[in-house]
Each structure stands twice: as C-alpha cells, then as structure tokens.
Subunit: 476 residues, 2 copies
C-alpha cells in the first residue's frame, strides 16, 4: 500500500478542533518527537497533535479514523525500541499526551492515584510522597517517561521483584479505541470479573490498540526505612543463592536485587565522576540489594546484616557493605544506574533485554557469554540487571579499537540473532521489559510462536481494522 500524505483539509479540521496549542505543523516543533530516545531511528510527521483532554483525543481519533489516517501515540518518547517514532514515509501524525498531565486525585483511603496519561513518572512519585504514599515502580527515564507510555509498554524497572511490572499496578484505565470510542474504566476496583480484561490487554500493547488517556494506579505506603547493601561475590549462581537466602529470611522486604558484573563497575568508576568502589578489593560479580520496612517496624538493616554475615560465613558472598546513611545508599544506587551511561561513553555495544526462568539465569549468563565471545572474537559481554526477575541486559561490547558505528552496522544483526536464538533455546523472551516497537520487530517475527502471533494479529485486526493505531509497531 503506497503511503499517502495526510489530507490538508483534514489537517485544517484538526487544527480547528485542537487550537494552536494542540496542533503544530512547524517542523522545528515536531523535530524532537520524530527521533527515538537513543537517536537511531528517524521518522517523519507533518503534524504533531497535543490534545488537552480525553474528549479531544476521542475527537481527533474519530476524525483520523474516518479518513484512515494513522496515528502514533507518544508519551515521554523514551522507548528503547523506537516504539513511539512515526514511520519514515510521513504517512502518520504524532499524537502526544504531553498536555494531559493532571494528577486528578490521590485517595489515601484506597491507596489509589487517578492520573492523566501524560503525567511524568517522577511527578507521580512526588505527589504520592506528599501524601505519605509511594508509587512502587521506578526506572532511569523517570524524569521523562509518562504513565501512558509506562502502561503501554508494561514497563519494568528495579522494583518488579516485589511489586510486579506496570500491569500489576494498573487498577483502571480510560482509553480511546481506534474507532474513537471511549472506554471509561477508572473506577479502581480490586476485583472485577466482567469479561475480557481490556485494562490488561492495553497494558503492553504499545499503543497499537488505542490510546490510554488516564489510569488509576495502585499506591503503597511510603517506605519507613530502607537498607541498601553492596555485595561482592564470585558468580551469578552465588548471587541467586543469596537472593533465596534473603527471601527466606525477610519475606517480601527485598525490593531490589540488581546484578552488576565487575567489568560494569569498572566502567562506571572510570567514566562517571565522583564515584568510588564500595568494597575494597576486586570481585567478579556484585549485587545491589535494597530491603525496606514500613514505618514503625524494625530497621531492615538489622535483618539484612544478619543474612549477609551468614552468607559470608557460608562462603556464598565474599564481602558486603551496608549503607550507613541515605547519602551512601544514593551513592550505591548511582553506581547501578550509571552503568548504561558509562557503557555508552566507553564505546558501542549491541544491546539485548532478555529474560529466562530465574533459576536458569546464572547458567545462561555464563554459557551465552562464552558462546558469543567465541563467535565474535574481541567482543566482551556485559550482563547486568534484575536477576531476581530473570531479566538481564545482555550487552555485547565492540572489540577495542574498532569504529563502533561501523562495527554495529556490520556485526550487530548477527550478534543479536545469536543472543536471541540462545534465549529462545533457554525458553526465554527476547523482550523482557523494553517491548518490540520497531527495532525488535524483525527478530520477533522471526522467532514468534505462529499460533500466538496469529492470535495477536487477529486481535489487532478486530480492534483496529484499518491499522491506523501506531502502524509498523509490534506486529508489523
């Protein structure tokens, strides 16, 4: 199907409906929103729509649907897979939720926040904290990522171990379907068995089934105290053993359990200012642990200290340090959160966001590393991340001295195919938390279970028969 440029008359009607604050066709205004977060994929759009509320979203979707004009929904534009970048042929408009950023209500009694889709994650964190509550999902892009995008990508982050991914925290949604009809589902019911769960279906659908305009989200009590520890150990197997030991002793107090290879810590110490090693001596692997306790409960550092001492005694951990202050805790977290930046400064890498069953992750990390480094001489694998979720970021770094861009262009696809084949062979997922978007689409289509893909395409065709909602993403 040849892409056609949007009809100028329709654009005029959209401008009329949205007003000058909600419609721009100025290329300078549009420019930042047609390139993906990582700067690798460039699209084209003749207009950027920024509706002010759900009613305006519904109206413009209905107008576009009537004309068969595709729409690319966009939140903070922080997709790791170019999931919010329009097609290069200019056939689609971008619809941004950035003007819809009201925190409509926070109910302390229900532990629920009702927020517009365009609310930025960090703003929700702040609003919840002001009420003695917290929204228990966080990730590096929290200063830009929006609630609508986080739901549409079923975002993960560092607290999935305890609270699950974004879909676990969504109690209700308000959305506009591809025909412009509105789903009103903000009532935050803990239990609701009235047929297919559209809230769950829209979570992780990457904007291909409609546009989320608002959500009701679960809040939990603010942390009373937290304890953050850095542990040096010999292997991912030892790390998993430590996690099980912690879970057995402290129940659900462990919120984060992040695996950091020695190489990654070295990169951070080398490239990120004002960082320093938390332990004396080198370790092949490290773990960042955070345990929390409600207000009024015992300091979680006490239980954490006991378990870590036992683990060292048992030879499971080599060394450990518990942050003695909130500043030290922040410094430990900064080490973990700076890995991607340090890696980027250091050179190019082919990146992968994979998951396998938790118990097999340690063996997977090590065997996949050996196989990939042997097949692509000179590369070095950096595997870090959420061990407790069975999810690591498996990044293959360019050999020393090569031109990174040229290397990635030449070898990147082959490397990714190998990593993904190994992942599938281990019963894993080639997208643990980033989604499919555009950049993983070919690999997803290559490896997907045909029955599952057929069912997904049938659902897409049923709800978006014209294929106007985020074209080219997720299902091709």
């Amino acid at each position: 199907m040849a892409a056609s440029a949007p009809d100028p008359a329709l654009l005029a009607r959209l401008l009329e409906r949205l007003g000058p604050r909600g419609f721009t066709a100025d290329p300078r205004d549009i420019e930042p929103w047609i390139v993906d977060w990582r700067g690798r994929v460039r699209g084209k759009a003749v207009a950027l729509l920024s509706p002010a509320d759900a009613g305006e979203v519904a109206d413009v979707v209905a107008m576009c649907a009537a004309a068969g004009l595709p729409i690319v929904p966009q939140g903070g534009n922080t997709s790791m897979v170019a999931g919010a970048t329009p097609p290069a042929d200019g056939s689609a408009l971008v619809l941004s939720t950035r003007r819809m950023r009201a925190i409509r209500a926070i109910s302390v009694a229900d532990g629920v926040a009702v927020v517009d889709a365009g609310v930025v994650l960090a703003d929700l964190h702040a609003a919840a904290a002001a009420q003695g509550l917290r929204f228990p999902l966080s990730l590096g892009a929290k200063g830009s990522a929006t609630i609508g995008g986080l739901i549409s990508t079923n975002a993960g982050g560092t607290q999935v171990l305890r609270f699950g991914p974004m879909r676990s925290l969504v109690l209700g949604i308000e959305a506009v379907l591809p025909d412009g009809s509105r789903i009103e589902g903000l009532s935050a019911l803990r239990k609701d068995n009235r047929g297919y769960d559209l809230r769950q279906l829209m979570s992780g659908a990457e904007g291909t089934l409609g546009i989320i305009t608002a959500a009701s989200l679960r809040l939990v009590p603010a942390i009373g105290r937290r304890a953050v520890a850095w542990v040096g150990l010999s292997s991912p197997q030892a790390a998993l053993g430590l996690l099980r030991r912690l879970e057995a002793a402290t129940g659900e107090a462990v919120e984060s359990f992040e695996l950091v290879p020695g190489d990654a810590l070295e990169l951070v110490l080398k490239h990120i200012p004002d960082t320093r090693a938390p332990l004396t001596g080198g370790h092949a692997w490290h773990v960042l642990v955070e345990a929390t306790a409600p207000q009024g409960a015992a300091d979680p550092a006490d239980a954490l200290g006991v378990v870590l001492a036992d683990a060292i005694e048992a030879g499971e951990a080599a060394d450990a340090a518990i942050a003695a202050s909130e500043a030290q805790a922040e410094a430990l977290w900064r080490l973990r959160e700076s890995i991607s930046e340090a890696e980027r400064i250091d050179g190019m890498a082919a990146k992968h966001d994979v998951s396998v069953p938790v118990s097999t992750m340690p063996a997977f990390i090590q065997s996949a590393r050996v196989e990939v480094e042997a097949a692509f001489p000179g590369t070095r694998v950096l595997a870090f991340g959420h061990l407790g979720d069975g999810n690591v970021h498996f990044n293959v770094r360019a050999p020393a001295g090569v031109d990174g861009m040229a290397w990635l262009a030449g070898e990147g696809a082959s490397i990714s195919r190998m990593v993904h084949d190994l992942t599938v062979a281990a019963d894993g997922s080639i997208s643990a938390e980033h989604g499919i978007g555009q950049t993983k689409l070919a690999e997803y289509l290559r490896l997907a279970d045909p029955a599952r893909l057929r069912a997904q395409r049938a659902i897409k065709a049923a709800l978006d028969p014209q294929g106007i909602m985020n074209p080219g993403k997720l299902l091709g």
Copy 2:
C-alpha cells in the same frame, strides 16, 4: 440460528480419537455435568469428552471446529454463574479436563508449579506444601475447583488482599484456541513483553476464547506462623479503619480480612453443628483477620495483639480474641466459611457478588441495605465477605414465612436489578469474582459500557469466528 444435533459420524470419530475412557454418550455418566453447582440451571449434551492430554484437546477442538460443533469446557463444575453448563438445546458437547490432573513439576528454586488444567486446587495446595511452599489462593470449593476453571474465571477467594486474584498468580499458560491451534506458553518468565498478553486475556475469559490445558503458577514460601483473630465492632466503617490500622503497622502481613455481620454469625451458630460464638456478648459486625509471618520471623500474633489492643483503646473495635491454637484458628475460619451453608439452610436468598472502591464499601453496604429492605419489605440483607478487596456478597434473604422458591421466582430479578443499579451508581462491578456465565448475562448486557462490550465482542469474533467455544456465556 436453529441448533442442530451433533453429527453421529463426528461423534464416532471423537470416540475413536479419545477412546472409551475419553468419550461417553451414556446419559447416566453425563448427568452430573449438565447441571450447575447450585442446581439451578440444567443443560443438555449428547456426549462428554474427557481428553487425556493437551494433544487430545487440540485434536478434538480441531475436529469440532471443522464441523462447527460447539464445546463447553468444564473443570470442577463449581461455577456460581452456570458458566460451565451446556445450552439446553443439546447443541454443544461438554469437554471436561478431569483426566488431565498431573502436577508436572514444582520448582522450589523458581517458586513455580507447572500443572495440568484439571488439577484440583486442594491437590495443588498439598503438593506445594510437601515442598515447603504454598499456592496462595483458596476458596470454599477447593476440593472440586480445578486450575483451568480458576484461571478461566479469574477466581478470588480469601487471600486476594495480599496476593491478588488468580490472574496475578498465573505465570504462563498452555492453551488450545478455537481453531485447534496450540499456544505453548508455560515458560515461567517473570518479565515478558512480547505483545498482547494472551495469558491475561485467557484469564477470566470463561472458556470463551479457548481451553486452557496447563499453567505455570506462582508459589510462595510456606507460612511460618499464622495468627487468626476475631473482632467485634460497630460498623463496616470501623472495620475499614481497623484494616488500615493493621496495614500501617504490619505491612503485608495481613492476608485475610473478612467482614461478617452479626446476623450471619447468628445463622451459623443456629444451623452449623459444633460452632460457638468467639466473643461474649453481641456485636453488630465482626471481622476475621489472618496475619502471617515467614519461617523464623516473630510470631504475628504479637503484632496483631498490639494493634487490636490499640484499636479497642481507640474505640474502633469493641472486643477481640486471638486464636491460641491452630484448632482455634480453624474453628474461627469455619465460622466464616459456613456462612453460605447456614444461609442456604435458613432459607432462600437473592445473591449478589459485587464490588465497589474499597473506601466506599462501608457506606455502600449500609445505604444499599436500607434502600433494598425498604423497597422489598420483609427482606433482610446479609452482606459479608472481602472488605479489603471492596468485594461483598450482598445477599437479600426472603421474608420470613414465604415459599422461598416462589419468592425468588417472583421477586429475584427485580431485587437483582436494584442491587446492580445501586452498584453501578457507586462505580462498582456487578461481578467481583464469580464472573458472568449464564446467570448474570442479562444483567451484564443491560448495564455494560457499550464501547467495552463492542470491543469484547470484536475480540471474541476474532478468535472464535464460529462462536463454538462455550456458547451463550459471557457475551451472549
């Protein structure tokens, strides 16, 4: 569309494929499975299929799909809404999962059980306990209800407060779609963002989108110690205040928080042998609380005792007793679990399973009670259940002295319309945990959001274009 009787030649081929253990056309064998759990809805089926494994399910679904022959999937046949009862016209066959009851694997390292769809809930409880783990969902029908049915109905129960409903515990599914194709999704990945979540879509779909043949389920560590308390208090408002007090003080230790009106306790004491009042003196309302702690942690009775003492001091609770032994704890639970039976012995009731936002539940219970009892003189409302989930069973009992069956036939529908209208007006759900099935269908269609219903029907038509999978349920 006139229903036609199944083709005898097809029945012969089904017998050939399934063998005599997997196929019966003997009305005596079929009889127990064509009447619903509550004995109110009778269907008809000329054959009962009992495949031995997922391969047989796929084959018989493909054979039925080719002939356009409808199938009613059935697990333990414990639906409260006749969701597994075949149509009365005899146009469909019943497919039972009862022969598929292998517990395929329990991984202690991953905290995962992989089980056939026909495994009975109580059997999973026992198998998990044998490994020092538990499956944290339980309900009255646990001796009959199967895993496939629990997923298909997104079952609730008494532990939703802490662990969520069934869909929260499903890590993977294996299923047969209405065209006979198989979805292989048992790999228990904690994170997997590859498109629309079919696992979530099948959860709560009441068998209308396919037949679940196996599932991977989340297990959690066995309880170290539990503390069970019975509390007398003045109102549902006081009960909610107590819940918030408990949550603030003990975090996620509170697993169950069941509201019991004084009337309900009286019915239990009157009709159920060997029961006795846990507190001296009468109270308008009661709450059963269970708090747990992992192995090695402090006895949860200590913290519970402190909070209850504070609540009594603050005038929020009137009296409380903590079970001093496991036998006493069981006796308290028996009071709660006998309410339905006692109510049935006492007389007829129009029953409703509704939810509203948690903070509004106390006011809803009281205002809806007053309105319904005024509109239907002589009736008495009994509202009990899962206050912490915003879910109560709102049962309207027949006036004293009337013929219960005649009263229900005459007044039941009007009463239900009123209860459901009040629920919708309170932003609630007319089916919190039981589903829609057949018996709530008319009310669901009367009250559903048209856009939501249209989307659900589009999904149904996309995956089951012939409408052969559990016809007449959920969407009509």
